[in-house]
């Protein structure tokens, strides 16, 4: 039973009141109490409130694993705005595009992004309000960017009278996240506070989250699973432990050093730790819950993690960005779970209580129990459309036969319901793949490749695929006499995040076609098997 809605900042403020001296955030080897973090949040919220040139529902946060990143997210929400996370690891061109697509006029910048800031500001035409930590910034930045307004949080006076925006409604915006788009342009998914509240409320009750919990914060802010870490943790007065970039790949020591109780990552992290012999028996005794999401979870990973964290409940979560973080779960039980797996992949499990699902055929009709079909989702966690994109919204957010006016999100995920009622993931209905948990539309990579190669005859293939997950992509190009691989990869690197840049490009005489005259991606994968 869902608890009555309250705004995302209310949970944090309640924790500030109840536990002012408890640790709220550990980042960059620095520990901030709820009271410390609250002070930073108030200053940022106040800076937004007082300096916004025109009212706009979103504020962009360009920061990464720093105090500004977390205070910026909370500050935006406390000022009554949704946040748009930007990522300094992404190419500048992609960041500029996401900023432009969002329409944001306020940009919060962490000091870790300062070296890239001049490059970004030079390409942004409309005047921005740029919120920085201190005036101690790059020489000439202010004089060369006089059309932008710069505000320094350090100089914002403590405003006792400033009231944080607790009066949000379920439809108030929480965040706008950009995912890979099949037309070559990232698409924005607006998630409301009501969507996030439904998730946070359910998860806090399910996992009995409390002020003694110590949460991992492993995901970049541009990955929506980061919203779980922050909002679930702060709702109940827990402490959030940001995994430093250098430990993201192999966080075993970090888990032990910080005595974490709540772990959340993509399954690939478990796989990497396994291969590096870092999942020894009972090496993570402090963990209470271990959650995995973002890509298929192989049974061997779940079992190895369970042995490494014997005091922990291991759960596989599933959910597209459009359904807010996760909307289904499966609890791993060493005795019974192996038989529930399909192709050695742990089931998606059951949809959260209070949310709805249907498994449908291509006409939207429900398939018979046990038959494969597309998973459609509905309920208080599900978004209502894409940002400024009515065409894509109409395609993916639909009415289903016999479901009145209820709006359903077509996930594009093929599933089948097993005998025990658990949903099992079977694959995709389209060309979307997951790389290290990131959603990637191959068409977006191909759009960049076409531009870079000057030919339409390009195709990208997920490769290698191990345990149901792609580790990267490679590309094939035809119709050229020669290929300057380094030049083409450099263009890709300027436009795409590293996980979308092809690892190799092969020049072939022609691209193989299947009987339907479409490019035969399976044949290309077979070709790669031969090369490997």
């Amino acid at each position: 039973m869902q608890t009555r809605f309250r705004s995302l900042v209310s949970g944090f403020l309640e924790s500030v009141e109840r536990f002012p001296n408890r640790t709220a955030l550990v980042v960059d080897n620095e520990s901030l109490s709820y009271s410390d973090l609250h002070q930073c949040v108030c200053r940022i919220a106040s800076a937004i409130h007082e300096n916004e040139r025109e009212a706009f529902p979103y504020v962009a946060v360009w920061a990464h694993r720093s105090q500004t990143a977390y205070a910026g997210v909370l500050g935006a929400i406390a000022a009554g705005k949704g946040y748009v996370p930007l990522n300094p690891k992404f190419p500048l061109e992609r960041t500029r595009r996401m900023l432009a697509l969002s329409g944001c006029t306020v940009l919060i910048v962490g000091k870790e992004c300062l070296p890239q800031l001049p490059g970004l500001l030079q390409t942004v035409d409309r005047p921005l309000t740029v919120i920085l930590e201190t005036p101690d910034i790059l020489p000439n930045l202010l004089s060369q960017n006089s059309h932008h307004q710069f505000i320094f949080v350090e100089q914002v006076r403590d405003r006792e009278g400033f009231s944080l925006r607790e009066g949000a409604t379920p439809s108030s915006l929480a965040y706008l996240l950009f995912t890979s788009g099949s037309t070559g342009v990232p698409k924005g998914v607006p998630i409301s506070q009501g969507n996030v509240w439904a998730y946070v409320d359910y998860i806090c009750r399910r996992y009995e989250v409390n002020e003694h919990d110590r949460f991992s914060q492993q995901f970049d802010l541009t990955f929506d699973l980061s919203a779980h870490d922050m909002f679930v943790c702060w709702e109940r007065g827990g402490s959030l432990h940001c995994v430093p970039e250098k430990s993201v790949m192999a966080p075993a020591k970090f888990i032990r050093d910080h005595q974490l109780t709540m772990w959340f990552s993509v399954p690939s992290v478990a796989g990497l730790l396994m291969k590096m012999h870092l999942l020894s028996s009972n090496c993570f005794p402090s963990l209470r819950y271990s959650l995995f999401c973002g890509e298929p979870l192989p049974a061997s990973y779940a079992q190895s993690w369970q042995e490494a964290a014997p005091n922990s409940v291991v759960e596989n979560l599933y959910g597209p960005t459009e359904a807010t973080i996760a909307i289904a779960h499966y609890r791993w039980e060493a005795e019974n779970s192996f038989e529930d797996c399909v192709n050695d992949i742990v089931p998606i499990g059951q949809v959260f209580e209070g949310q709805q699902f249907r498994v449908t055929d291509s006409r939207g009709e429900s398939v018979s129990f046990g038959n494969p079909g597309e998973l459609c989702l509905s309920g208080s966690q599900v978004a209502t459309g894409y940002w400024n994109d009515p065409e894509k919204t109409k395609k993916q957010f639909v009415r289903l036969p016999g479901a009145d006016d209820q709006l359903w999100y077509r996930t594009g995920d093929l599933v089948r319901q097993g005998a025990k009622g658990n949903l099992c993931y079977l694959g995709r209905t389209d060309q979307q793949v997951k790389i290290r948990g990131y959603r990637v539309e191959l068409q977006e990579i191909e759009a960049v490749l076409r531009r870079a190669c000057g030919t339409d005859q390009v195709v990208s293939v997920p490769w290698p695929v191990r345990n149901g997950s792609a580790e990267g992509v490679v590309a094939f190009v035809s119709g050229l006499k020669a290929l300057d691989q380094r030049h083409i990869l450099a263009i890709c690197g300027d436009a795409l995040p590293d996980y979308m840049v092809p690892k190799k490009i092969y020049l072939v005489d022609e691209l193989p076609l299947n009987p339907n005259q479409k490019i035969d991606r399976g044949k290309l994968s077979n070709l790669l098997e031969g090369v490997a």
Partner: protein
């Protein structure tokens, strides 16, 4: 089987990274002080492949349980760890 010396292992690792690294420009510059992940030469999956390569060269399991990531992502330190802490 002959035991591999640290300097020899460093050379083998550098050759492996030059062959298998992701970033053309950076991998040409790889040296024993290069941080393989921060430089972007290897991603996490390629790093695991490198660990497996080192284990094959040394015939030992690489023990990274208590190693700091900033230590084991640098070529020289990684090779040192592989020969110091590894176990059969």
């Amino acid at each position: 089987m002959r035991a591999v010396a640290e300097q020899e292992l460093i050379h083998m690792v550098i050759d492996w990274v030059k062959e298998n690294g992701l970033n053309d420009a950076s991998r040409a510059q790889v040296s024993e002080t290069t941080n393989l992940l921060e430089s972007g030469i290897l991603d996490s999956f390629a790093f695991v492949d490198l660990v497996l390569f080192i284990e094959k060269c040394t015939q030992k399991k690489l023990d990274l349980v208590d190693a700091n990531p900033e230590e084991f992502t640098i070529v020289k330190s990684l090779c040192h760890l592989a020969l110091q802490n590894g176990h059969k």
